[in-house]
Symmetry: C3
C-alpha cells in the first residue's frame, strides 16, 4: 500500500484556517505525504452525510490513509473514542472519531481487520486542545501512518466488536410504502435517500415504474423511476440510482430540493402509483 497518500474529509468549512492547519501538521510530520481533499463542506456535525460522502469518495481513491473528521463529540466530558482502522481489501487505513463516520467506508473496504484507540497516541501534538483533535490527534496520527508506522505503534488495540456502527440505508417499509430520509442535498438540488434498490423492489418499484413521492404531512408529487434525466421531460421528477450508487430524487433541468421543499434529514414516503 502506498501509504504516503492521505485523503481528507471534514466539516471544518472553508472560512477558518482549520483545514490548512491540518495540512501543515501533516507536512511537518510526514513531508512526503500527498494530501487529496475530498471535501470540507460537510454540514456541521452531520455524521451520516459525512459517512455517505466518505464512502462514495473512497470508492475512487488510491489505497492509502483516509482522514475524516466530523466530530460533534469532541470536547465533551465522555468523549467518543479516536481510532485508526486497518481494512481488509487493500490495507487502507481509516483515521477519525469512532462515531460511525468511518463505518460505511470500512464496509466498502471489506471490513476492519485491526482497530486501535489513538486518543492517547504518542504521536499526538502536545498539549492536546479540548476542541481541535483534527490538528492535535487525527492529523499527526494519519501522518505517522502515511510514513509507515504500523497501527499497533500509534495506538492501543480495540476489539472490533466495540466499534460504533452506522447503516446508511435504513429506510423501512410501512403500509405498502417506503419511508425514506434525505441524507444529503448536493449543490444541484438532488436528494440522496437512505434507500436501496432492493428495498424499492420489495414494493414492486422497478425501473420504469410511476410512483408518488410525499414529504411527510404534505401533498405528494408524481415521479418516474428511470436511469437517466433524459428519460423524463424537463421539469419532471425522477427517482434514479445516482452516481454514488444511492437512490436519489432529481428534477430534469431543475432542483428536486426546491420542488419538494425538503432539506437534509427530512422524511419522504414513496409508494407505487
Amino acid at each position: 500500500v502506498d501509504r504516503a497518500l492521505i485523503t481528507f474529509l471534514s466539516d471544518f468549512g472553508y472560512t477558518d484556517e482549520f483545514v490548512g492547519v491540518c495540512h501543515g501538521v501533516i507536512a511537518v510530520r510526514c513531508s512526503q505525504a500527498r494530501v487529496i481533499d475530498i471535501t470540507h463542506g460537510i454540514l456541521r456535525h452531520d455524521i451520516r452525510a459525512g459517512a455517505l460522502l466518505l464512502r462514495a469518495a473512497l470508492a475512487y481513491m488510491p489505497a492509502g490513509v483516509h482522514l475524516a473528521v466530523v466530530d460533534p463529540g469532541v470536547g465533551l466530558e465522555r468523549s467518543r473514542r479516536a481510532v485508526a482502522l486497518l481494512t481488509r481489501k487493500r490495507g487502507d487505513l481509516l483515521v477519525g472519531p469512532d462515531n460511525g463516520l468511518l463505518w460505511p467506508a470500512a464496509e466498502l473496504f471489506g471490513g476492519v481487520v485491526e482497530a486501535v484507540d489513538i486518543g492517547g497516541s504518542h504521536e499526538r501534538l502536545e498539549p492536546v486542545s479540548a476542541t481541535f483533535h483534527g490538528r492535535d490527534v487525527f492529523a499527526p496520527v494519519a501522518a505517522a501512518l502515511a510514513c509507515g508506522e504500523p497501527p499497533a505503534v500509534v495506538g492501543q488495540t480495540v476489539a472490533i466488536e466495540e466499534l460504533t456502527r452506522l447503516t446508511l440505508a435504513r429506510a423501512h417499509v410501512q403500509d405498502r410504502a417506503l419511508r425514506v430520509r434525505v441524507l444529503q442535498i448536493d449543490g444541484f438540488g438532488n436528494l440522496s435517500l437512505d434507500a436501496s434498490t432492493e428495498q424499492l423492489a420489495q414494493l414492486g418499484v422497478l425501473p420504469g415504474a410511476s410512483l408518488e413521492v410525499q414529504p411527510v404531512g404534505r401533498v405528494g408529487a408524481a415521479a418516474r423511476y428511470e436511469s437517466t434525466f433524459g428519460e423524463v421531460a424537463p421539469g419532471e421528477l425522477l427517482l434514479h440510482k445516482d452516481s454514488r450508487q444511492m437512490m436519489a430524487l432529481a428534477v430534469n433541468q431543475g432542483e428536486a430540493s426546491a420542488r419538494l421543499q425538503v432539506g437534509a434529514g427530512d422524511e419522504l414516503i414513496l409508494r407505487l402509483r
Copy 2:
C-alpha cells in the same frame, strides 16, 4: 509540454465530494500528475462564466492539460459531445464538454489544431454514470493525456468546424449606446461585462470619459472610465479594464453589484454623458 500538470475548473462546488473524487481518479490513473484547482465555484451550469474564468486563468498557467466541467447537458437524451482539444501555441490540451466552455481558452492558445470525441474513450471509467462524466469520462481522459497518451488514442477525430463556438464579448451598439450583459460578479462585488474596449471606442467612450450606466428599465447612474480605483472618489462608480482584461464596473471601496442592484446575466446600457 509538461503534460503531467492538470488544471481543473468546474461548477461542482465545495459541499459535495465531486471535486475530491476527480482528484482521486487522476491520482489512480496518472499518479505523477500534479493538479492545480482553478475554482469549483462557477455558478451552476453557467457556461459563459466558466468560459470567462477559464480563459482568464489559463493565461497564467503552465502548459499542460486543462480539465473544465460546466455541463448542463450531461444526462440528457441528446447529449453534447465530450472532447479533448489540442491547441496551437504551446500544445496545451483542453478536456471537457463541447458546449462552448473551452472555446475562448482555445482561442487564447491560438486555436484548435486537433479535436477528438472522447465520449466513447477506452479510458472511461466503466460503468459510465448518467450524470457524473467529470469522474467517469473527463478526469480519466485528462489523466491519460497528462501521462503522455496522444489525443488520437483517447478519442475519435472530430472536424474542428463542428466544435461549438462561444464569443464572450457580444455586447452590441444600439441608438448610440452599448447594451452589455453582466458575465460574472466577483467576490468583491465587481461586475465583469461582455464588452471590449474597441466596442466602447466606437461610442467615443475613451479613458477619462464620463458615462451613464443604466440597468435596463431602471434609473441610471454616473460613472467614469478610468484605469484605477484611485482615480475616482470613494463610493464613486468606475468603468475600467479589469485584471482579466475585460471591461468591468466597480465602486471605489464599495460593491458595484449592490450599488446597481444587478446580478449575473442582467443587462446594462452604457452611453456617453
Copy 3:
C-alpha cells in the same frame, strides 16, 4: 529553511479564479514549490481576522515562505507598501501588503530581521494590474523566494521601524469590566475575542469563575470560564482559551454567535459576577 514550501492565505474566496491563478503563477515561476492553502475565506478586507488566522495557522506550518493577501488598499492612489519580511526564529519569510496583516505572525516568529519593499520588484508580472497584486506582485515574489532568491534581490530595504504594526489583544479594562471585540466567528459559531488571559486575570476572572457577558447596549448572559465544553451543561455559555490560544466564547452543543446575536467586530463587556 526549506523555502520550497509556500503557505497561502487570502480573502479571495472560492467563486473566482483568483486563488487558482496565484497557484499557476507560482508553478510557472518555481515549479518545485509546494503550496499549502491556509484559507481563502477571510472576510473581505478584514485585516485583523486575516492576521489572527495567519498567526494561528503559522504556528503549525513547516518553515518556508508565507504568502498572505488581505489588501483593501490595493488600487488606491496612495497605496500601502508591498513587503517581504525575513523573521528571526527559523528564517521564515512573510510576503504581503504592509498593512498589519503580517505583523502578529512576524511576532510569533521572533520579529523581523530584514524587510524589503517589493512593490517595484523585478520579479513582478508585467504589466502590473491596478487591483490584482496577489497575482502580479505577491505570488511571483513568493515563488522567487521559495526558489532561493534572497530578500535583498527581490526588493529594496525598508527600515523595520517603518513597518505597520498590529496588536490583536487590544481589549481594555474599564470600570472593573473588560471591553472586548469579536475578532472572528468560526464555522461552529464560536467567537474569538481580542483579549488575553492576563487581561482577564487583572479583573479577577480566573478559571472556574462565573461571569457576565454583555453585548454593548443589550442584556447580558451568564457564562463560566472553564477549559472545555464538557465542564458546562449543554446550551450553557463558556469562556475558554480556544485552540488558537485566544480567549473565545462558545456554547456547549450550540452556537455562541446565535445565542448572543453578535457578529465580527461587535463589542462585548465581560465582568465578574
